[in-house]
């Protein structure tokens, strides 16, 4: 690792002040560290300063305004096991449990999970060009090995996927990220607005400002109906999603009355498309609606060669998930 300075913050306000004091923008918050330290060992990230936020008092899950408020430092394993999450947001518990290993889930935090970087092979290979790691150098994933890459939301500059399972469920659940800004102001950002598509600046992945600290994630009251997280991966455990879907579906008298869906493995951010939900709501719960939803999701999907299979795989995964969720009601 490159040398860096280290300071432990004793309050969120002190943390953002400490980050602000290193004006060059080369400072990072560190909490669980499971992604950041990996990247620092490889010198993909080389911050000049680390501000340790791991001991801040931000590790509670509490009822809030009909939903829940999750401290940014709640470990992934604790969040998955929390009684409120298990009872009301089972898709989130399932998404968390499908990610990483138990050791990593014990360390990785809720805020850090949202901000983890892509696992694109070329992003990790410091000998290769990568517009995300070294802006302007190019993208070897296009025309290269791109089996794990995105089919939606890409640009000519970057086709990397966002790797989180947790964030996919949170997108379907309409999560809101609460931050503390360096000036001391708080900000609420819908998860949909936290992430940015790559465009011509794939190195800018979120709408967070330099030094802005995620303190909480809020989930509104859970959606009606049954919930599910279905993940397809290359081995049975401890692997990133090839494709995944988080869904909550309600059926009344055979008709779909409510639908919320988000998708992983497809795009540079946890993906949601209102047209998918519109294709389902008000329709009889059956194959015609499920296929229409898949058509809406994948209308603009474009493979790069090795990842072409993701498009039919996502179609089948979505239809199977919708069948499972509506089986008893059909």
């Amino acid at each position: 690792m490159k040398p860096f300075s280290y300071a432990r913050a004793d309050s969120p306000e002190a943390a953002v002040a400490a980050i602000g004091a290193t004006s060059s923008g080369g400072a990072r918050f560190i909490a669980g560290g499971t992604n950041l330290l990996d990247l620092m060992k490889l010198q993909i990230e080389a911050p000049e300063a680390l501000v340790d936020i791991s001991r801040l008092d931000l590790a509670q899950v509490e009822e809030h305004d009909g939903g829940v408020r999750i401290g940014a430092l709640v470990p992934n394993s604790d969040l998955a096991a929390h009684p409120l999450i298990r009872a009301r947001y089972p898709m989130l518990a399932r998404a968390l449990l499908s990610g990483a290993s138990a050791q990593l889930r014990n360390k990785a935090t809720t805020g850090g999970n949202l901000l983890q970087r892509t696992r694109c092979y070329y992003f990790y290979d410091t000998a290769a060009p990568c517009n995300k790691r070294a802006p302007g150098t190019g993208c070897n994933a296009q025309g290269g090995f791109n089996r794990i890459h995105a089919v939606l939301g890409t640009s000519e500059h970057c086709i990397a996927t966002h790797p989180s399972d947790m964030a996919v469920a949170m997108r379907a659940l309409d999560a809101v990220v609460v931050t503390l800004q360096p000036g001391g102001d708080r900000r609420r950002i819908a998860l949909a607005d936290l992430y940015r598509l790559p465009g011509d600046t794939p190195q800018i992945e979120t709408s967070l400002q330099p030094g802005e600290l995620i303190t909480h994630i809020e989930l509104p009251a859970p959606p009606v109906g049954k919930q599910l997280y279905r993940k397809v991966r290359d081995r049975a455990s401890y692997a990133f999603a090839v494709v995944s879907v988080a869904a909550a579906i309600a059926v009344e008298d055979g008709t779909i009355s409510s639908a919320r869906l988000a998708f992983g493995g497809l795009a540079p951010m946890p993906w949601r498309n209102a047209a998918v939900e519109a294709a389902l709501i008000g329709q009889p719960a059956g194959t015609a609606a499920f296929e229409a939803a898949a058509d809406a999701l994948l209308k603009d999907a474009r493979g790069q060669g090795h990842n072409d299979f993701k498009i039919p795989l996502m179609r089948r995964t979505l239809i199977a998930a919708l069948r499972d969720l509506t089986e008893a009601a059909r």
Partner: protein
């Protein structure tokens, strides 16, 4: 920095970049904890911090100043092996042995998670957790064994967990 490791206090002043794993091995002489991949993928470096299993390679020593840590050296009481160690010997739960300290520490931490009622990816219900061979395999997936001693590792853990042999045959068939 000070650490409480296996019940004893250790002082150290390593470079700020030192991982908890390198602190244990290179600064404190506790070489039972192994370095495999050094990137959190293999689990050979698994230790308990505050009773929870983590990858010692993916955390900085300085972030654990004052913490209570248990390594493989802290399990046995004198010459009396910890039940998990004894079960690994009995069931031949290793071949080369390099991953074994991590496997054992992970298994000890894992059974505490099961006792606390924490669900896993393969739990049919998020509320009622029933340990099985499938549960053990899923919960131990962060520990790789290149010799592929997995069946015997699962047997060793299953015995310590008190799984009836019949349950194990059904799940492993």
């Amino acid at each position: 920095m000070q650490f409480i490791i296996n019940g004893a206090a250790y002082d150290a002043d390593p470079d700020i970049r030192t991982s908890l794993l390198d602190l244990l091995r290179d600064h404190l002489g506790l070489t039972g904890t192994k370095k495999g991949c050094d990137h959190g993928q293999c689990g050979a470096c698994t230790v308990l911090v505050g009773g929870r299993r983590i990858n010692a390679c993916l955390t900085l020593a300085v972030m654990h100043d004052g913490d209570t840590i248990t390594t493989i050296e802290g399990l046995a009481e004198g010459d009396a092996l910890h039940p998990m160690q004894a079960a690994f010997v009995k069931h031949d739960g290793f071949q080369c042995g390099y991953c074994t300290p991590g496997q054992i520490m992970s298994a000890v931490g894992m059974l505490d998670e099961v006792r606390a009622g924490m669900p896993s990816h393969v739990s049919a219900s998020l509320d009622t957790i029933e340990l099985s061979e499938d549960e053990i395999s899923e919960r131990m997936s962060g520990n790789l064994c290149r010799c592929s001693a997995y069946p015997n590792i699962v047997d060793a853990i299953a015995e310590v967990a008190g799984l009836a042999p019949a349950d194990r045959e059904v799940a492993g068939a």
